[in-house]
């Protein structure tokens, strides 16, 4: 399926930025293995016969709506839940039955769970003292962690004397202090405002690379997952729907669910008309007078009903039809326009009433746009814009 998708996943290993993709390497040994794991709470199945491998130094994101089982999956690794069936191994060691206080994982909690009666310093030192680490070493490690999260001046404060962002940093420092094999982050940035969240995402990536640790993050925020993760697992109803690097999740979703959950998308029902090597011709129900060409190996047979996923930013809206005949083109009328400043979102109504969204960057400074309500327009896209989905 690799059609030259730019891999954003590169890691600085030994001072050189390298492509990081151990999941493609058959020799690589996973650090964490979920093997046919099922977790039931009474009648409810939170995780359903799920298998997943996560590699060392990977920044792995579990993405899904609330109730999809992502948090349960993480809590089983931390030891707060035991799987009903299946096996979880960490560095080859079977974890089932090991209590959380004996596992080499540390977790950063969504609520931060800082000990309110202890200072920042004592919070960070807590785990180290549990290990009976020698006093000088504890102090050195705590200082190092405070420096890492830039909180040296706040060591003596109690959690209630800190801002939300500072508490988040203390929680991060505390969970990193023991140098766990895996750091688990449960919606770590959920309580921060947008700007701070974006800054912190990049800091998390820096810290992860600096310490060379494996991070597993649970989030419902697809942008966050896309930003930080090497690979994303999209979950639904306790199952993995797709596990892939962010660019593949976005550009080559394997199902309507993934396409719809990650980013904005237009999904058109269509019938396969003809198949050629690396090319499919389809006829969409919404535009029966035009055929749509998609340059990919067809996952279906001629005559099958499939769906075409089209990202709004890959659609062009013009008043005139495109000159190039190889470009797909649908005609319609402007139903609504959303002006976002950087982008304008055109909602175009196709002849049968289906509406598609096209995002157009506002490249020039212009108050009056040439396209307006009820204009007859042409929506065009190249063959490599669409993705054929069978499920």
């Amino acid at each position: 399926m690799s059609t030259g998708v730019a891999e954003k996943t590169q890691k600085t290993i030994g001072g050189i930025r390298r492509k990081f993709a151990p999941w493609n390497d058959p020799q690589a040994v996973p650090l964490i293995r979920y093997q046919n794991v099922t977790k039931r709470f009474g009648e409810f199945t939170a995780v359903d016969n799920l298998s997943l491998d996560i590699y060392e130094r990977e920044f792995f994101a579990l993405l899904g709506p609330s109730g999809c089982g992502k948090t349960t999956l993480m809590r089983m690794l931390a030891g707060f839940e035991e799987p009903t069936e299946g096996k979880i191994t960490l560095a080859g060691e079977d974890l089932v039955g090991t209590p959380p206080y004996k596992r080499q994982t540390n977790m950063m909690f969504q609520s931060y769970a800082l000990f309110p009666h202890m200072s920042v310093w004592d919070n960070i030192a807590f785990g180290l003292r549990q290990d009976r680490m020698e006093k000088g070493a504890v102090a050195a490690r705590v200082e190092e962690m405070l420096k890492l999260v830039k909180l040296e001046k706040f060591a003596k404060r109690k959690p209630h004397q800190l801002s939300g962002g500072q508490r988040q940093r203390v929680a991060l420092a505390r969970s990193l202090a023991k140098r766990p094999k895996v750091l688990l982050l449960d919606e770590p940035l959920g309580a921060l405002d947008k700007k701070l969240r974006e800054e912190t995402q990049f800091e998390l990536m820096d810290i992860q690379m600096e310490l060379g640790m494996t991070f597993l993050i649970v989030t419902h925020d697809q942008e966050e997952a896309m930003t930080v993760a090497d690979r994303i697992a999209v979950m639904n109803h306790g199952k993995l729907v797709q596990v892939a690097p962010p660019a593949i999740i976005y550009e080559q979703p394997n199902s309507r669910y993934v396409a719809d959950f990650v980013g904005d998308v237009n999904i058109l029902d269509a019938r396969v008309e003809s198949i050629a090597p690396g090319a499919v011709t389809l006829r969409a129900e919404a535009a029966p007078d035009m055929s749509i060409r998609v340059s990919q190996e067809c996952p279906a047979k001629v005559g099958d009903t499939v769906a075409v996923a089209l990202r709004p930013e890959k659609l062009r809206v013009e008043l005139d039809p495109p000159a190039d005949p190889s470009v797909n083109c649908l005609s319609g009328t402007i139903w609504d326009i959303g002006y976002l400043g950087d982008l304008s979102i055109y909602h175009v109504e196709l002849p049968n009433g289906t509406r598609v969204k096209a995002a157009k960057p506002n490249l020039t400074r212009m108050v009056e746009r040439p396209i307006t309500w009820d204009d007859k327009v042409y929506v065009s896209f190249t063959p490599d814009a669409g993705v054929v989905l069978t499920s």
């Binding site: 931390a78 030891g79 707060f80 209590p99 959380p100 206080y101 004996k102 994982t105 540390n106 977790m107 909690f109 609520s111 769970a113 800082l114 000990f115 309110p116 009666h117 807590f126 785990g127 549990q130 290990d131 109690k158 209630h160 505390r174 969970s175 023991k178």
Partner: protein, 303 residues
């Protein structure tokens, strides 16, 4: 605006008026009696302030007030100091026992499923629906030599029928009575402190390598301390001045200041000495109350 602020003053004034009329004024009366001398009269003390007798008489009466009763109460020759000490000791031991009994109960309640917590709270409060006096009397029936406890132990063959346990009329019975009667006052503040504790703190402790028992001492116990102090003071303060329980369940050797005060008042008919005993008891108890207030203020600040 004026009407509004007058309304506000009225609302503020009512509780103050209440406190002045029903707490401060009676206290001042008792304090004045404690500075007077016994007399064979009605009321049985002098001087009596009588404003109708004129200013000179008032000044004369005022000059008769003295701290004589206090030096009498505080002299080592009398049993008062011993009674104060013994009361503090019995109240202290009782508070400790209450804490030992009450903490696990409150902890269990706070950890119980949310759906059954109201029922458990109800069960703790339920005994209040029966008169305190009747409940203490009931313990006589349980603890007396031919009471229910001894009958049970004899029936089970644990003690011989000729040697019943002598619990009634001992300090043990007083401890049992105080622990039984005051338990809700210990459980409720402990429960409220434990219930609002965030469970993820214990998960975080476990995650950082802390086994459950250690996590209890490092996290749960320190965070429940406000409840421990509140419950302890709520039990300790009234227990020091307790009269009914030592009177009904205690023996002749149970020395508690409440009993001494009652004897002084109704047997010795000395209003003045018993007033001095009461005022001194208040002074002794003001110290822990102030301590508690400080603690609460600090906690509020900490939020």
């Amino acid at each position: 605006m004026a009407v509004k602020s007058r309304g506000r003053w009225l609302v503020l004034a009512i509780p103050y008026l209440w406190l002045v009329a029903l707490f401060l004024v009676p206290f001042l009366i008792v304090f004045k009696i404690s500075l007077s001398q016994d007399a064979i009269a009605q009321p049985p003390y002098e001087p009596i302030f009588d404003l109708s007798a004129g200013w000179e008489a008032f000044k004369d009466a005022f000059s008769q007030l003295s701290f004589e009763n206090y030096s009498y109460v505080l002299s080592w020759d009398n049993e008062f100091i011993e009674a104060y000490g013994s009361s503090l000791w019995i109240a202290g031991i009782s508070t400790l026992l209450l804490l030992i009994v009450g903490y696990p109960i409150a902890y269990g309640m706070a950890r119980a499923p949310k759906s059954i917590r109201p029922t458990l709270l109800m069960l703790v409060i339920l005994p209040f629906w029966t008169s305190f006096l009747i409940r203490v009397y009931a313990w006589i029936g349980i603890l007396s030599p031919e009471g229910l406890l001894n009958q049970l132990l004899m029936a089970l063959g644990i003690i011989s029928p000729d040697a019943p346990l002598q619990i009634l009329a001992t300090n043990t019975a007083v401890y049992i009575g105080i622990v039984y009667s005051y338990l809700p006052f210990m459980i409720l503040p402990l429960y409220s402190a434990l219930e609002k504790m965030d469970d993820t703190l214990l998960e975080a402790a476990a995650d950082l390598g802390c086994p459950p028992f250690a996590a209890f001492w490092k996290i749960t116990w320190p965070l429940s301390l406000p409840g421990v102090f509140a419950g302890s003071l709520l039990c300790f303060i009234p227990a020091v001045g307790e009269f009914v329980i030592p009177d009904l369940l205690g023996g002749s050797d149970t020395l508690m200041i409440g009993k001494v005060l009652w004897t002084e008042f109704s047997v010795n008919r000395s209003w003045t000495v018993s007033s001095a005993v009461a005022v001194l008891l208040l002074m002794v108890l003001v110290i822990p109350i102030v301590f508690y207030q400080n603690l609460q203020a600090r906690e509020v600040e900490g939020r």
